[in-house]
Structures are given as C-alpha cells and as structure tokens.
C-alpha cells in the first residue's frame, strides 16, 4: 500500500530530514510514528501526500511513485488520502456541516451526494446534533472530530494524522483515539505521528520510531520507548 525505498530528503536550507528510510505499510494497518522533536516525523507524513518531494529514493502509494508524479496528478492522489493536523485547520467562517462539505465541493461532488455523505460522517464522529455550530462554539476535541470527519468524507484509503492529540487533554485524546480505531476497523489505513506515550503504550499498535531521519525501531505491537 505505502512503501518507501531508501528515501532521502534534504531541505533547501541544507537540513537533512530523512536519511535513507525504507518502510512498508500494508493496507488496513494502524501505525504510530514516534520520535523526538525534529526527528523527521512530519517530513515523513508530508512525503506521503506529496507536500514534499524526496531528494532521492522511491515512495509508492497505491502503486504510484510519488517521486515522479506529475504535478497535475497530485490532487487525485490527495483525494485518496485524508489528513488531520494538530491545529484542526477548520475554516472559522463556516459551520461544522459546511467545513466538512467543503472537502467534497472542491472535488466537484453533487449537492445531494454531499448532504448524504456529510450526514454519514457526522454520525461516525457523533456530531450530528452540532452540524450548524461554528467551530468556535466547539471544544478542542469536537473540533478535532470535525477535522477527522472532513478527512474521511471523500472515503480515502489512508488517513494520516500529524499529532492529532497534541492540543487535547488526556480524556479528549482517548475519545479521538477510539474514533481513529473505529475508522481503522472499517478498513482505512492509519498513520499517526505522536508524542503521546500513554496512548502508544496502552493502545498497542505497530510503532515506527524515527531518529535523525532514520528508522531506529519498527515493532509490530510496540511501546513508546522514550523517557521524555
């Protein structure tokens, strides 16, 4: 499903963020990406949805090599990858429904199709009763659920999350994790960069640890493993 073969990334300012990473992630897996700050977790995440290009090496997503992907094909790649960020990235001028519908509008879905599907995902993230709320009227956890709903509304095969619980308290973080697990159970591959030791150690999944742009550890039912 997702495969990195000897991937290197040097940013234009000379920072070497990836130094020969090779990974294989199967369809339907749930993977934690852990490591100290600046290790290259976000860079790895950005490579998968082609926000960054590798300097060297091969990145295969659904059989296509992103290193050579034409610029005009990138939007179609992204329709198959949902992305969730630490800071939610919701549009403050739109209500919950509109924020989620936005992701379908811009890929030219029809109005009835949008209505139906947005209601479905609102059901999944349990926010049906708050469809008309503005983001500022929601708690952090609820906002993150909206952003997850937006990420899955186009039915992507892969959901990637860059520290999705980074801004949330422990209890709310667990809500988000249960939601992600549920989404994973429906067959969506999940890749999640995180600093959250408690979660990684208690909801045991595959753990890929990155240090200095290299994979230092890859365990099927791993632990967080840092004393930070």
């Amino acid at each position: 499903m997702i495969e990195l073969n000897d991937v290197w990334k040097t940013y234009p300012n000379g920072v070497m963020a990836m130094n020969g990473m090779s990974i294989y992630i199967q369809s339907g897996e749930f993977v934690y990406v852990v490591g100290p700050s600046g290790a290259g977790k976000s860079t790895f995440i950005k490579m998968i949805y082609r926000e960054e290009r590798p300097t060297r090496g091969e990145i295969l997503v659904g059989g296509e090599n992103l290193a050579h992907m034409k610029e005009r094909h990138v939007p179609y790649l992204r329709r198959n990858i949902g992305v969730v960020f630490q800071d939610f990235k919701l549009l403050p001028s739109m209500n919950v429904f509109e924020n989620i519908a936005f992701a379908m509008e811009v890929v030219e879905a029809s109005k009835p199709e949008i209505r139906r599907r947005v209601m479905d995902v609102l059901d999944i993230v349990r926010l049906k009763n708050k469809a008309r709320f503005q983001p500022h009227e929601l708690s952090g956890g609820e906002q993150q659920r909206v952003s997850i709903a937006r990420a899955i509304v186009n039915n992507p095969d892969v959901l990637i999350c860059d520290e999705p619980t980074g801004n949330l308290d422990p209890e709310t973080s667990w809500e988000i994790m249960h939601l992600l697990e549920e989404i994973n159970d429906r067959g969506t591959t999940i890749i999640m960069a995180t600093h959250n030791r408690e979660i990684v150690n208690n909801m045991r999944k595959r753990v890929i640890a990155i240090e200095n742009g290299r994979i230092s550890r890859d365990e099927v039912r791993g632990r967080y493993g840092y004393e930070s």
Binding site: Y49, E51, P75, Y76, R78, E105, V107, E108
Partner: protein, 297 residues
C-alpha cells in the same frame, strides 16, 4: 467543467467582489475611467476617419493657365504636370466649358451671364488629382512653380492639418490609454492579491483535500473578469447616451454640407463590444498577474 462547478466559481468570485469593498470600488473606477477614455477616442477616431474618407474623393487641384499661353504651351504644361510626382490624373477644362458649367450651375439666373460668352473672363483649367490626399499640398506647390501657371487652387491644406491632428489624437490617446490601462490592471491585481491573502487558509485546505489547481484558480479569474465587466457599465451607458444626444443635436448639422457624423447605431455597437472586450481582458490580465505571483499551487 460541470455547470454546477462554474456556478460555484461565479458565486465565489461574486462573493469576493462584495467582500473587497473599497478595493473593488477602486478597481472598478479605474476600469471605468480607462474605458471612458478608450470609448471617447474610439468615437473620435472613427469620425475623423469617416471625415477623411468623405473628403478623399473631393480632393483636386485646379490649375489656372495663363491667358496668354499658346496651345503649344498648354500641351507642354500638361506633359509637365503629368510628370510631377504624386499626380494621378489630369483633366483639361477649356475656358468655354468652364463658362458653360458656371452658367448651368446658376440655373435660370445664368441667362444674365450669357453676354459673357463674347468676352470670356475665365482661364483654361487643368483639374489634377493627387494619388494620395495627404500629398495634395506638395503636388499643388510643385505645379504652381511651372511656367504658364497663373494660380493653383485646392481644398487648402485642410488635409495636412487633419492628418497632423489625427496623428496627435492617436498619440495622445495611445499614451493616455496605456497609462490608464496599466493603472487598472495594477489595481485589479492588487484586489485579487487581497482576496488571495484573505483566503490563504481556505486555499491551503483546498490543496490538501485534493482540489485541482484550475479549480482553485477559477474564482480569482472570475473576480477579475467581473471587475472588468463592472467597469464597462458606466462608460457604455454614458457613451451611448452622450453620443446619441450629440448626434441628435449636431450630428447632421455640422455646417459642412458634405459631412455628417457617423450615426449612433453604426458606431455604438462596435464601441460597446470593444469596451466590453477591453474590460474583460484587463480584468483577467490583472487576476492572472496576481494568481501567478501569489497563488503558488
């Protein structure tokens, strides 16, 4: 593109127009001023060209031959006139024919002049046509210096003045229009830039959920196009009304028998189409500049 997508882009573009308030007003005003000038010059130039066309057929030089010239001198003179550069055609009008024409032109009252036939006061005349109307002046001058020419007469140097005037009008118009055009493009580009900055977050989200580049860009082109088209409304309205009034009042009473201004139905449609085209091009051009510079998708 699907119809509903186009509808969405137009809605977004329109919303941006409303949201940008003062900048929209400034851009539309700049387009308006520019198009008023373009339209005015267009009407002016079309009428001047029409005036020139009207005159063109009428330009001839009348060469009066000295009365004491012999027939041989006249033949010699005709050959020399033919050789003057820029001469197209030479016709000889003997003084008798000249008098006939004169008497005929007076109608009944011509009778009183019948007695003149005894003592014809007119000269023999060569009627010369210049190849190009704007060279009439030059041709007349050269003929004037030939022997046995008493005088030359031609539609004065109105042509030179006219051509000098239209050249000046064209140059002034071109400079003015170029300046105003760039001002309008610049203001539109800045308005679009404002939109792009205001929508930065939205654009970022569109990108990571998989909107195509053209999908992201379209509303900005529409916004530019709308700014250009909004700028057409007042100039077209003013010129249609103004030229119509002008034509009603003096269009057909120019004081020149042979000349009338072009009727509104002939020129206003062309002018409106031109203004609409220029407005649209300026609008899209302005947004293109900003989109290329500030919308890195």
């Amino acid at each position: 593109m699907r119809a509903r997508t186009l509808g969405r882009h137009v809605k977004e573009g329109g919303r941006n127009i409303v949201r940008n308030g003062w900048m929209t007003f400034a851009s539309v005003s700049a387009v308006t001023v520019m198009l008023l000038v373009v339209g005015t010059f267009m009407l002016l130039i079309m009428n001047v060209n029409h005036f020139a066309d009207t005159l063109e057929g009428d330009v001839e030089v009348r060469v009066f031959v000295e009365r004491q010239a012999e027939a041989a001198d006249q033949e010699q003179l005709e050959t020399e006139i033919t050789r003057v550069p820029g001469v197209d055609d030479v016709a000889f009008v003997p003084r008798e024919e000249g008098l006939d024409n004169f008497i005929a032109s007076l109608g009944d009252e011509g009778e009183y002049f019948e007695t003149l036939r005894e003592e014809n006061p007119l000269n023999d005349v060569f009627v010369v046509q210049a190849e190009e109307p704007e060279r009439t002046d030059q041709v007349a001058g050269q003929i004037d210096s030939l022997t046995h020419v008493e005088d030359v007469e031609y539609g004065s140097n109105i042509f030179n003045q006219l051509f000098a005037a239209t050249d000046l009008v064209r140059i002034v118009g071109l400079v003015l229009i170029t300046g105003l055009l760039f001002t309008a493009v610049f203001l539109i580009a800045n308005t679009i830039k404002l939109t792009i900055v205001a929508r930065k977050k939205e654009i970022q989200i569109m990108k990571f959920v998989g909107a195509t580049n053209s999908f992201i860009r379209w509303p900005f082109f529409i916004e530019g196009l709308l700014l250009g088209i909004l700028g057409c409304i007042l100039p077209i309205g003013l010129l249609v009304y103004g030229y119509g009034r002008f034509y009603d009042i003096i269009g057909q009473n120019t004081g020149l028998e042979f000349f009338e201004f072009l009727p509104p139905q002939v020129v206003l449609f062309q002018t409106a189409i031109l203004l609409l085209t220029v407005g649209a091009v300026v609008g899209v051009w302005g947004s293109l500049m900003s989109v290329r510079k500030f919308l890195r998708v």
